[in-house]
């Protein structure tokens, strides 16, 4: 639905924010450039929206890139059914508030075969409920380009990935044979059935993300801020114990702790950290002295060496 914009509304009155520092500004410009390029070159783009901090930044940049128009593509959320409750509530609120088109997809095999992270192990579960589900949703929508919020500083195989990451019709990534990508001239030429994953946040680091969230006042899921929450210790991780489906194993005890999350995924596979960071300033200060990387809290990345590359080759983001 095209909306008419009275001339006067073009000036955004809330903008009393100080200007961005040149570093964040440059990252923002680059991301907006990528958004516009993909939207212009591909027929059916979609944006992967995982509800986490990176997705929140990605969405904010998409809104900026197409302003004063609407975001010209839908958001796709691959819902495993095991996300934190607060994530789903946040997602629905954002979609309403910003007038977005959301597609939520859950692999029907999950329900039919009752696949859970507890019964099938994290590797198989991720394979079916995330990778396979993503492939199903992308095929169903016949999307030829999918935006993702991955950053090169997250993991060693991501550090190798192009901004336009080419995928075969069965969604495979061939890391040994990526297209050269010079300057900011992106090659968006593909054949029918092939697709491109586009990563506007490639050059952002974790600290950049947080500083940008702060500077731009971007809403994020409250689980990123420290609060007293029920947890249980499992496989060396503290996991949130508020969902009825989490059954305590012998010897496990539920206790209350002041914790927060550095990354958000499926609650049974995401470890909390002890922290008193209740504001963005606290989080940034904590990060600057952090001695472990953000992915340490994720069970799926620890399954085996090179596990991310393997998942990516198979079509995972």
């Amino acid at each position: 639905m095209p909306h008419t914009l009275p001339e006067t509304e073009l000036h955004n009155p809330q903008s009393t924010k100080p200007p961005l520092d040149p570093h964040l500004k440059a990252l923002e410009n680059e991301a907006i450039h990528i958004f516009r390029e993909v939207a212009a070159e591909f027929e059916r783009p979609v944006m992967l929206y995982s509800i986490g901090k990176d997705s929140s930044v990605l969405l904010h940049l998409a809104r900026k890139a197409f302003y004063p128009g609407r975001v010209p593509f839908p958001l796709l959320h691959v819902d495993t059914g095991w996300k934190f409750r607060e994530m789903i509530a946040f997602r629905d609120e954002i979609v309403r508030k910003y007038d977005l088109d959301l597609i939520a997809h859950t692999n029907p095999r999950g329900a039919a075969e009752n696949i859970t992270p507890f019964t099938h192990g994290s590797a198989l579960y991720t394979d079916i409920m995330k990778t396979e589900a993503l492939r199903q949703a992308l095929d169903a929508g016949q999307y030829d380009a999918a935006f993702g919020g991955a950053r090169r500083d997250e993991e060693a195989s991501r550090a190798k990935e192009r901004i336009y990451s080419f995928r075969t019709p069965d969604h495979r990534w061939d890391p040994r044979n990526q297209r050269p990508e010079l300057w900011n001239v992106y090659n968006g030429m593909i054949r029918k059935g092939e697709s491109v994953r586009a990563f506007p946040l490639s050059n952002w680091t974790e600290v950049d993300i947080w500083r940008y969230i702060q500077a731009e006042e971007i809403p994020i899921v409250p689980l990123y801020f420290a609060k007293k929450r029920p947890v249980v210790e499992r496989d060396g991780m503290m996991i949130l114990a508020e969902d009825r489906r989490l059954e305590l194993l012998p010897g496990e005890v539920k206790r209350e702790e002041v914790i927060r999350f550095r990354t958000l995924g499926c609650f049974p596979l995401t470890g909390a950290i002890r922290s008193n960071a209740t504001t963005l300033d606290d989080i940034i200060a904590e990060l600057e002295t952090a001695t472990v990387s953000e992915r340490q809290g994720r069970a799926i990345d620890r399954d085996q060496a090179g596990s991310m590359e393997k998942k990516k080759r198979e079509g995972y983001f």
Partner: protein
């Protein structure tokens, strides 16, 4: 570590002194420095960057633990971890112990932040080196102290220079394996300076380095090399300059037209040079229509100016036909438009560049058909341009570009965005070359292409004017100008057309 002032003084000793062209920036630049490592296979590029990350504390505890775990079995005699594994993240790379594709990493010191692209040395993967070089401000060129300069070293230095890199650090690596031989270091530095000079590079700092042991990387190597009193690698990097967008006039390659409703029509893109403000007169290319800027719209506010690098939405004062691929430019400093251009390029794929083949050319947001005619190829050893009809993979060549429709360019020297392009093979959709525009070719009669030279027959006054330009001076080898009378020039044209 040495204090910055002392490092600056030390720097002077190792820089090839040539007339300084740019005045040093006094203001602290908060933009990150973008650098690449390059050089031949196994010279220690990944190890050097791994060391840099390690010594600047960019490696977190869990990453250090997996490094220790992954290093076991491949540990070197010194019992140090295999730092290259911090970069070589693909399974195939770990199995073969080589780098295949560029890895981008981010780190910072107290003084500035860095984006480093660790590129592969293997000739087969030159395309990935070019990918890294295209956006870099500075190149760290590695040489194995025991081996010296190789053809691949020359290739990388040449590609880096072609792509506009003007600051080089020569890291003479594995110096520990030469017993810290000063004469060897001096000899290699000397050889490289000759090469750099022939490439027109003014800034070279040579450093003897042991990437593995971390000597002269972040910490100095005085204990092993008392004879070296120059800066460490990190000191040079902290003082290097980021390239400011060289600019001609205002350029906005249009990415898309925004029409959210009847009352709004804006042209979206990233400013590729110069600046713009409401009230400016602009020309839309290739149509040549003229309009005035009424507004610069961004999400946050209606701005009163935009500069190179800004992603904006431009609103004009009248209904003009503007579409994706057009360039909106300042009216008094316009880019070149035409059907024929000269360029230099690097061939990136096994099929090379075939004569007369029609490729897709993409530059900015503009994609069009082009016929590519190779003219000459650079011989790396001698630095000579030899006649060539086609360009094999990894070749650096000069080509003629011929378009069906108007093309819009600046020279790469003047604008790194509107002067750069990629070639896409329509059969494979793969990117087969990265290119840089050197000049527009006059598509006039009176031009005879002989072996390697173009002969221009021009009226005497025009010929004199042309020969006085700087551009001509730099390309004397390509062109021969013959002075003729205007009447005779007409005669030549007639004889060609007729």
């Amino acid at each position: 570590m040495t204090a910055p002032a002392a490092a600056g003084a030390a720097l002077d000793q190792t820089i090839v002194s040539l007339p300084v062209q740019e005045t040093a920036r006094v203001v602290r630049d908060t933009r990150p420095l973008r650098l690449i490592t390059c050089g031949s296979v196994d010279d220690g590029k990944s190890t050097l960057i791994g060391r840099l990350l390690w010594d600047t504390k960019a490696v977190k505890e869990d990453q250090a633990a997996s490094l220790q775990r992954d290093s076991s079995g491949k540990q070197n005699d010194l019992g140090l971890p295999d730092f290259a594994l911090l970069l070589d993240g693909l399974q195939a790379e770990r199995e073969q112990g080589i780098t295949i594709d560029v890895a981008y990493r981010y780190f910072a010191t107290d003084k500035r932040s860095f984006i480093v692209a660790d590129t592969p040395g293997h000739e087969q993967y030159t395309r990935n080196m070019a990918t890294g070089a295209s956006t870099a401000d500075l190149a760290v060129l590695l040489v194995d102290a025991r081996v010296g300069l190789l053809e691949q070293t020359r290739r990388h230095a040449t590609i880096a220079t072609l792509m506009g890199i003007r600051q080089f650090v020569l890291a003479v690596n594995k110096i520990d394996l030469t017993n810290y031989d000063r004469a060897r270091f001096d000899q290699i530095s000397h050889e490289f300076r000759e090469l750099a000079l022939s490439l027109g590079v003014r800034q070279v700092t040579a450093i003897p380095v042991s990437a593995l042991r971390g000597e002269n990387v972040v910490y100095d190597g005085r204990a092993s090399m008392p004879w070296y009193d120059g800066p460490t690698l990190i000191e040079v990097l902290e003082l290097a300059t980021t390239r400011s967008a060289q600019t001609v006039g205002f350029r906005l390659p249009v990415q898309r037209v925004s029409r959210p409703g009847e009352s709004f029509r804006g042209y979206q893109g990233t400013v590729a040079g110069g600046a713009v403000k409401p009230g400016d007169s602009v020309v839309i290319l290739p149509s040549g229509m003229v309009a005035n800027v009424t507004k610069i719209v961004t999400f946050d506010l209606v701005r009163n100016a935009a500069v190179a690098g800004d992603a904006i939405t431009l609103v004009l004062d009248r209904q003009v036909d503007v579409s994706r691929g057009d360039v909106i430019a300042s009216i008094d400093s316009q880019p070149m438009t035409g059907l024929a251009f000269d360029a230099q390029l690097v061939a990136l794929q096994p099929e090379g560049i075939q004569p007369g083949k029609r490729y897709w050319l993409k530059s900015g947001s503009r994609r069009q058909r082009v016929q590519v005619q190779p003219v000459s190829q650079l011989e790396l050893k001698s630095g000579k341009w030899n006649h060539a009809d086609e360009l094999p993979m990894n070749a650096i060549g000069k080509v003629h570009l011929a378009f069906d429709e108007q093309a819009i360019f600046d020279t790469y020297e003047q604008n790194r965005t509107t002067g750069a392009f990629i070639l896409i093979d329509p059969d494979t959709n793969n990117t087969v070359a990265g290119g840089m525009i050197t000049a527009k070719r006059a598509a006039l009669g009176g031009i005879h292409t002989e072996e390697r030279r173009v002969i221009l027959s021009l009226p005497a006054d025009l010929a004199d004017q042309l020969m006085a330009t700087e551009l001509f001076a730099s390309r004397r080898e390509d062109v021969e100008v013959r002075r003729v009378s205007a009447g005779k020039a007409v005669g030549i044209i007639d004889s060609i057309d007729g």
